[in-house]
């Protein structure tokens, strides 16, 4: 049987990862560039976001409209976004169309026109999106929670700050492009009905002579504080809690991850059961693991009417602390099968796999096969999870709330 996984780093520092998926007609591509919000220049937050829009407004031989029309004519389902660590471009369609579209993506990341009119519009749209955050308190809460939890600049709002966006100019954006869109540490990931020889030589042809400066390492600074309340006349009080967890690459990762599944995996998870099903304190309550390179965290959210907010916060905190007393064999069993099923079902989506193997390479420098992940899940025992939990008191907590009234903190 032919190889199912591909991993290759070219001399210029660009890596291609791939997964061949039997029975699929489609393919999906994920392109990660080392241009996330964390590496936005100090007083130019939001620069990566403006750039990710601007590079799509004409590249190579095609002007703005020709480029969009061309990508549309291939039927590509596209996405472009900026995270803390990367700018990300993605597409999915019939496999042959995705391969055909690679040339246009090479133009986008290497030869964008970066026109003045496009810059003005991209910056205007970024400012509009930022203004909309105040209208959606849940989104606002999650942005603030990251800002107050993560060491700076990892906590930065990917959308940028108004003052910084207003100062941004086309010249600064062009300089930022030259600085951060480069082969070194970029990852191109393809999954689906693909031929490894074909995609590898196509990527080499399109990106082999791509150069540019090396990535500059970040200096981390502590976040502004632990507790923060934002007063807003919202219908509900929105509560965010964050605390450190094990790294995704640590030997304890699956033990920590299982504990979070017990807390908030399925609807029988402890948070859902205690906060919603038993006490009906809220509709939405959840906890999840968040992974950045070198930083593992647990992020918790609950949205509840203002008069129940204190009870909700108290109840959530009780559950976070109770976890340290350990989980039962039955809870672990459910957590394992849930995570395993998700892992297997990920194999049904080319987009999910393209994203996952790109993430894997970034975090570990290698791809994990689905079988490897399944084995790691199988190997977790109750003893391991409980020993981990006993040694790791949850906290310190960062707590951010958005609502009309400040809550009493634990």
């Amino acid at each position: 049987m032919a190889e199912r996984y591909l991993q290759h780093t070219f001399a210029n520092g660009l890596t291609i990862v791939g997964q061949r998926m039997a029975g699929m007609q489609s393919a999906a591509m994920t392109f990660l560039l080392p241009a996330g919000a964390a590496s936005d220049p100090a007083d130019r937050s939001g620069s990566a976001t403006v750039l990710a829009d601007l590079v799509l407004r004409g590249a190579g031989e095609r002007d703005n409209r020709q480029l969009t029309d061309y990508l549309d004519s291939l039927g590509l389902q596209r996405s472009a976004s900026v995270g803390v660590q990367h700018s990300r471009f993605g597409c999915a369609a019939l496999a042959a169309k995705v391969i055909e579209g690679l040339g246009a993506y090479a133009d986008i990341v290497r030869r964008p026109h970066l026109p003045q009119a496009g810059f003005d519009a991209a910056r205007d749209l970024a400012l509009q999106a930022l203004a909309g955050v105040d209208d959606e308190p849940r989104q606002k809460l999650m942005i603030k929670l990251r800002e107050w939890h993560f060491p700076s600049p990892y906590g930065r709002n990917t959308m940028g700050e108004r003052e910084d966006l207003e100062k941004l100019t086309l010249e600064l954006s062009r300089a930022d492009f030259a600085h951060r869109y480069h082969a070194q540490d970029s990852i191109i990931s393809l999954a689906g009905n693909i031929d490894f020889d074909e995609v590898k030589s196509e990527v080499e042809r399109l990106f082999g002579d791509w150069k540019g400066p090396a990535t500059v390492p970040l200096t981390l600074l502590p976040p502004p504080g632990r507790f923060h309340h934002i007063e807003q006349a919202s219908e509900q009080t929105h509560i965010g809690i964050a605390y450190p967890s094990t790294l995704e690459t640590d030997a304890n990762y699956y033990a920590a991850r299982m504990a979070i599944e017990v807390l908030s995996g399925g609807m029988s998870g402890r948070l859902f059961t205690e906060v919603r099903e038993k006490r009906a304190l809220c509709y939405s309550v959840s906890a999840g693991y968040s992974s950045l390179r070198g930083i593992g965290s647990i992020l918790v959210y609950a949205g509840t009417s203002n008069d129940r907010a204190q009870a909700t916060l108290d109840c959530v905190m009780v559950e976070l602390h109770r976890l340290q007393q350990g989980i039962t064999g039955e809870e672990l069993q459910r957590a394992k099968i849930g995570l395993k099923a998700s892992t297997i079902m990920q194999g049904e989506s080319t987009s999910a796999r393209a994203g996952a193997i790109a993430h894997d390479f970034y975090m570990r420098g290698r791809i994990r096969t689905l079988d490897e992940i399944k084995s790691a899940i199988d190997a977790v025992t109750v003893e391991h999870v409980n020993a981990y939990l006993k040694d790791h008191e949850p906290g310190p907590f960062t707590i951010v709330t958005v609502g009309p009234k400040e809550l009493k903190l634990p």
């Binding site: 039997a22 029975g23 699929m24 007609q25 489609s26 703005n64 969009t68 029309d69 549309d72 004519s73 291939l74 039927g75 590509l76 389902q77 596209r78 369609a93 019939l94 519009a121 205007d124 749209l125 509009q128 203004a131 909309g132 209208d135 959606e136 849940r138 006349a233 919202s234 219908e235 509900q236 995996g265 399925g266 609807m267 029988s268 998870g269 859902f272 919603r276 099903e277 038993k278 009906a280 304190l281 809220c282 509709y283 939405s284 949205g303 509840t304 009417s305 459910r334 099968i337 849930g338 995570l339 099923a341 998700s342 297997i344 079902m345 194999g347 049904e348 989506s349 080319t350 987009s351």
Partner: protein, 410 residues
């Protein structure tokens, strides 16, 4: 290769399945042709509230069992309620097919215990409050209410706090008896499965369910041009939606309508994109097609600064006028290519395919293969779009706005 099967149990339960031997999972869904449009004002919100109560236990199981048993299978399970249908589904690894179907069958025979009913009322009230912090949702609710007037499609899915507080347990039980049963529902299965087994299991677990005839009122909607402005100084942005008549879910023109929606209002490369978003007049400008049972709608949605919203609306309306006069072959081809890609991608994921098949059956009692959908889509051309815009010329139009702007015409 996908293959389709169908059967009907003696009690009238329709069973449809699409087998995909390349899938790693099985998706099962029970779709009921009932929703907020089948409610009277006195019990508004009961369909959605009942959907919640299904997870609160059957005669055999408690609420804790309901969630726990699904989680023991590692199932991805949930439910949703719209104006016209309510669906319950689980996506599992193939070895759990019987257990999942058995559990879905218990799920749909709810006990509706009074104490659970009272507790869950609070969760529903929280859900209503949550959506009040979401401007898009507030606007959509208002749009449906104003556009459909006295027609049952104007009924809110969640209901109002007052109707939820008033609702009695026995009213819900009566609604369940009238609406939930073979004759008004379908079991849809996709992914890796053996059809004979699905039929045998359905007979075993759902064969004793009493047949229900649940006719639906189909009054003709009375459309008229109208506008409603909601003034909210707490918001930064101005949100606008408009709705106008379009083809129904049964109308052959629905395929052309989907292509038209893409040409006019897709997020990339559409008429609205170039006229409104590329130049940043609006942050978002969508145009979509929303087919209902026996009637249908086109809608447009704009988000912009309060000072730009009227300009944006004028431009959007001008674009709708233009598309009636001229639509070119290239843009139709591009839209078709994008839609074809989304069909292929959806076909590879059992959960997506199951939702599409079940929904289709609820409206038309018809199965359409991906190849049929693809062929019908490919047959859409300039003539079909011209006919469509003659039959549905985007009026009368209902306009609703929400935000800090004055809301005055001008």
């Amino acid at each position: 290769m996908l293959s389709f099967h169908q059967a009907q149990l003696p009690n009238g339960l329709d069973i449809i399945a699409e087998e995909n031997p390349d899938s790693y999972s099985t998706a099962l869904g029970l779709f009921v042709k009932t929703g907020s449009r089948d409610e009277s004002a006195a019990i508004n919100g009961v369909s959605h509230f009942l959907e919640h109560m299904m997870f609160k236990g059957s005669t055999k199981y408690t609420w804790e069992d309901m969630n726990r048993i699904f989680d023991e299978m590692g199932a991805k399970y949930n439910a949703f309620t719209s104006q016209e249908m309510t669906a319950y589904y689980a996506n599992v690894l193939p070895e759990f097919t019987e257990k999942a179907l058995e559990h879905l069958s218990h799920l749909l025979r709810p006990a509706i215990r009074p104490s659970d009913f009272d507790t869950e009322k609070n969760v529903i009230l929280e859900e209503i409050a949550m959506y009040l912090d979401d401007p898009g949702h507030r606007l959509y609710e208002k749009l449906m209410e104003v556009h459909f007037g006295n027609h049952p499609l104007s009924m809110s899915i969640l209901g109002a706090p007052e109707s939820i507080i008033r609702l009695q347990r026995d009213q819900m039980a009566a609604y369940f008896r009238q609406r939930y049963g073979p004759g008004n529902m379908v079991l849809a299965a996709t992914g890796r499965l053996a059809f004979d087994q699905i039929v045998a299991l359905a007979e075993k677990y759902c064969g004793s369910w009493p047949h229900v005839d649940a006719p639906r009122q189909q009054p003709a909607p009375l459309y008229k041009p109208q506008r409603s402005d909601m003034f909210d100084t707490k918001l930064n942005r101005q949100y606008l939606m408009a709705m106008m008549p379009g083809p129904s879910a049964q109308d052959e023109q629905r395929f052309a309508a989907r292509v038209l929606a893409d040409v006019v209002g897709d997020s990339d490369g559409s008429r609205f994109y170039w006229a409104l978003v590329d130049n940043a007049i609006a942050e978002d400008a969508d145009f979509g097609f929303y087919p209902h049972d026996s009637c249908g709608s086109f809608y447009l949605a704009l988000t912009a600064g309060p000072e730009r919203i009227e300009q944006a609306l004028k431009i959007a309306i001008a674009e709708l006028e233009k598309i009636k006069q001229d639509v070119n072959d290239e843009e139709i081809e591009r839209a078709k290519n994008k839609l074809a890609s989304s069909l292929v991608l959806q076909g590879e994921v059992p959960l997506g395919r199951m939702r599409s098949m079940g929904g289709q059956w609820i409206y038309n009692k018809e199965y359409r293969s991906l190849e049929q959908d693809m062929a019908t889509l490919q047959a859409v051309d300039r003539k079909s779009l011209q006919q469509l815009t003659r039959d549905f010329p985007f009026n009368p139009m209902t306009i609703v706005t929400l935000g800090p702007g004055s809301g005055a015409q001008g």
